[in-house]
């Protein structure tokens, strides 16, 4: 994993992507007990240019030049299947910008904050997202002031209130 993170950091240093943050299940595992997942979701801020369909072309080109294989929607980087996702709304954009930097062995990486993960899960709204929000409320230290500000900023306060009974301990 250290090597995978090193590759991600170099993509930023070399200007292939503007910034990245780990989201999804792997980010949740940072805060919670481990649970099964099959990939590492990496949200990236990247120049869109004129052709949005080709958004990942420079990124994939760089990675394949380095010998990493594309398998379906994943890029196998040093043994870990990585799925790159462009930030797709102001919430995911903010989650990447405000991600926290952590140490993983000798390498640093960026992980979305718990409060942003909760807001993204609420926005996505699948049953497994709601179940995971419950786990966050139960196990992780969630800063409710920060969460409420994020929900308000991204128009999710009503959705939270409507579903709050699902997350109660």
């Amino acid at each position: 994993m250290k090597e995978t993170l090193g590759v991600l950091n170099r993509l930023v240093e070399d200007g292939v992507i503007r910034q990245y943050a780990i989201g999804g299940a792997v980010a949740a595992i940072y805060y919670l007990e481990p649970f099964d997942t099959s990939d590492v979701d990496v949200f990236v801020q990247i120049e869109t240019g004129e052709n949005e369909l080709m958004i990942f072309a420079p990124l994939y080109e760089r990675l394949t030049q380095q010998g990493f294989q594309l398998t379906g929607e994943f890029v196998n980087i040093e043994g870990f299947p990585v799925q790159f996702l462009p930030v797709f709304n102001p919430l995911t954009d903010e989650a990447v910008s405000e991600a926290q930097t952590i140490n993983y062995g000798q390498v640093t990486t960026r992980i979305m904050r718990a409060e942003h993960l909760l807001a993204i899960m609420l926005d996505t709204g699948r049953p497994k997202d709601y179940a995971r929000i419950h786990l966050f409320m139960e196990q992780a230290a969630v800063n409710m002031n920060l969460l409420n500000a994020i929900l308000l900023r991204h128009g999710l306060t009503q959705k939270w209130e409507a579903n709050e009974y699902r997350f109660k301990l």
């Binding site: 940072y30 649970f35 099964d36």
Partner: protein
């Protein structure tokens, strides 16, 4: 009336174990999750069960602690 055992203590221990897992260093948690994934992939490819000492230890403690994503 049928008498059922009190499993309060069992549940309490299970919860404590989940909290212990949650408190593991991130590197350790990633190792657990992806070793399991690699073992599953290997099993699908070869039909042979591959298990690392870490997985064996974790699974012996509580098989459903690593829940499905």
């Amino acid at each position: 009336m049928k008498k059922y055992p009190d499993i309060t203590e069992l549940l309490k221990n299970k919860e404590a174990h989940r909290r212990t897992l949650a408190a593991l260093p991130f590197e350790k948690k990633i190792e657990i999750v992806f070793n399991k994934m690699k073992a599953r992939s290997e099993f699908i490819k070869t039909g042979r069960v591959v298990s690392s000492p870490t997985e064996a230890r974790i699974e012996s403690v509580d098989n459903d602690d690593v829940t499905d994503e």
